[in-house]
């Protein structure tokens, strides 16, 4: 009997199952209904939202969505977010994998100390170091720049990437390495051609674990970036909400469009997302 069957035919009876089913359905409704209404109100005029909030909209009326895409800097913000998040993840994975590979596969002196050093970084909320970071960035000439954000995000993400990748790379069998070495492969060749292809699942987890908070971050751009053309999507959204305060239809269209990229990705990759985001919390 599998675990699922054991639980599926759990006692507690049909009454309990019915109660739990009602709870799950009610909860999913509370979770999804606001998000659904956000998208629906994007198809309505402000007058319709105020007057008939629950009436089905005219889905052919995409005027609000067109307004967001043509009259605001939506695409600029989106491009900045893609550039900043993409580059940060690339750097986090590269540097994180290098360190993790060194820690996991070579028994050098100070190995444990290096690992603990990164582990300590996991415990530190970098937000609280925002004042020194602000001064450091100013001295490096990286205030009000996308590069400055990338540097901070890479630093923020490295410890967790090292932690996730080290845990995985330690599980790979030593025999693979030895066999490749006997065949005359160099250390670099073994790493790139033998070991890392096997570590792809862990890389996906490490990437998602960091990509979601970076994509969604509002705090660091708020402190570092002033120029509108360099703002990321969450930050740009606040600027644009200030402009259209009274035009609710456009507001909800803007919110919906901002939520769209990550929501679509989540629906496609929900298993990896859930694993990636909860991986810090599971031993």
């Amino acid at each position: 009997m599998s675990a699922a069957e054991a639980r599926g035919r759990a006692p507690g009876g049909p009454t309990l199952d019915l109660l739990l089913q009602v709870l799950l359905v009610a909860n999913s409704f509370v979770m999804l209904f606001p998000i659904l209404m956000m998208a629906v109100w994007g198809f309505k005029t402000t007058g319709e939202i105020f007057g008939k909030p629950f009436a089905p909209p005219d889905f052919a009326n995409i005027a609000n969505y067109v307004t967001v895409l043509t009259e605001t800097n939506f695409f600029t913000y989106l491009g900045n977010s893609l550039f900043v998040t993409g580059t940060s993840i690339l750097l986090i994975l590269t540097l994180g994998t290098m360190a993790a590979y060194g820690i996991a596969r070579y028994d050098f002196r100070g190995n444990v100390a290096v690992y603990l050093f990164f582990l300590a970084g996991l415990m530190v909320p970098l937000k609280l170091a925002i004042i020194p970071l602000f001064i450091q960035m100013r001295d490096l000439g990286l205030l009000d720049s996308r590069i400055g954000l990338i540097v901070v995000y890479t630093a923020m993400g490295l410890p967790s990437a090292v932690f996730i990748m080290t845990g995985f790379l330690r599980t790979l069998p030593k025999e693979l390495e030895d066999a490749a070495r006997i065949d005359g492969a160099s250390d670099a060749r073994i790493m790139l051609s033998v070991m890392l292809p096997l570590a792809r699942p862990a890389m996906v987890i490490a990437a998602i674990h960091n990509a979601v908070p970076i994509w969604n971050d509002f705090f660091f751009p708020l402190v570092f970036v002033q120029t509108d053309a360099r703002k990321t999507l969450p930050q740009g959204l606040t600027a644009f909400m200030g402009e259209y305060t009274t035009n609710w239809g456009v507001l909800f269209a803007g919110l919906t469009l901002s939520a769209l990229p990550i929501t679509l990705l989540y629906i496609l990759l929900s298993r990896q997302f859930i694993q990636g985001m909860t991986s810090g919390a599971l031993k």
Binding site: F108, W248, L251
Partner: protein, 308 residues
């Protein structure tokens, strides 16, 4: 494994090449800023200039001297309320949902995806969305209440001193409840099925099973969930900042340490003064408080965990 002093020079260089750049990067942009924050707190600042060494004065000010201390303790009190409420609502409901999902009822896959959907959205989207939805007249919440016959209880939720903080807490719970749910669910699914089966064969009631077997065995996931919530609740910033503003409106009833720290360090709209000295002192105190409590609490919680 060979000790590294016997390694060829090439391999030693290779390992150094792997480990040194990530170490240097972390040292420069994580360790150095954190250590600097400690140093900065001992100085008096004028704008972006470090002026005089003032010892513990900044710390004494934010803890015991008005006008700083009054705001610090009021904000701290709100953080405590937020933490305790979220512990009950977010983690309580999270565990209940995880237990419900673990019973593999029809549609459980759909419900699992649904409960986690708000978690992947940014605080900015959640904050701005709910700010509109909580609008006193045209907001979705009051419209819905009116629709189901509760028109009399409609309130300007974010505008009243009695309800504003609770509104923020509920929105935060809506945003994050999927996180503890799925961490607990993973914990429940890792319990060996024969333990559950044996208990059921012994005729244990479902309540006893949850209370005496499932909950204690899920303790490791609970430890991490509690600590993460604790860190999150005391570093709370984005949601209140975007929904009630930097001053914690109305009348400071939603002011929390995160807002106060930001106002102190980077100034607010009304007075653009930057005070890096008192700001750093606040940051260091928040860091120490969270670090010490998390460490002590983790050790205590780990003791009651059962190794599977």
């Amino acid at each position: 494994m060979s000790a590294d002093f016997e390694w060829p020079i090439g391999r030693r260089l290779w390992v150094a090449f792997l480990v040194v750049p990530p170490l240097a990067f972390t040292a420069a942009f994580v360790v150095l800023p954190i250590l600097s924050a400690f140093v900065y707190a001992f100085y008096h600042w004028e704008g972006l200039k470090r002026v005089d060494f003032v010892g513990l004065r900044n710390f004494a000010d934010v803890l015991f001297r008005d006008p700083w201390a009054a705001t610090t303790w009021r904000a701290f009190g709100h953080n405590v309320i937020v933490f305790v409420s979220l512990m009950a609502v977010q983690n309580g409901v999270g565990f209940l949902l995880a237990y419900a999902l673990s019973r593999q009822l029809p549609g459980h896959r759909f419900h699992r995806v649904a409960v986690f959907l708000p978690v992947i959205l940014s605080s900015v989207i959640v904050a701005l969305l709910w700010k509109q939805f909580l609008h006193p007249i045209f907001g979705l919440l009051n419209k819905t209440l009116g629709l189901v016959g509760f028109g009399t209880v409609t309130t300007p939720w974010l505008g009243l001193s009695e309800t504003a903080l609770w509104a923020l807490i509920i929105v935060n719970a809506w945003h994050w409840v999927g996180f503890p749910t799925l961490v607990f669910l993973a914990g429940i699914q890792r319990i060996p099925p024969d333990i559950i089966e044996a208990a059921r064969l012994d005729g244990v009631s479902e309540w006893q099973l949850v209370r005496r077997i499932i909950w204690p065995l899920v303790a490791p996931s609970a430890t991490v969930t509690f600590i993460l919530l604790f860190i999150g609740a005391f570093n709370w910033f984005e949601l209140p900042y975007l929904m009630v503003g930097l001053e914690g409106s109305p009348y400071g009833t939603t002011d929390v340490l995160g807002l106060y720290f930001y106002r102190t360090a980077f100034g607010n709209q009304s007075s653009g003064t930057q005070d890096f000295g008192h700001g750093s002192a606040l940051a260091v105190l928040m860091f120490l408080f969270v670090a010490v409590v998390s460490a002590v609490w983790t050790i205590r919680l780990r003791r009651r965990e059962i190794e599977l």
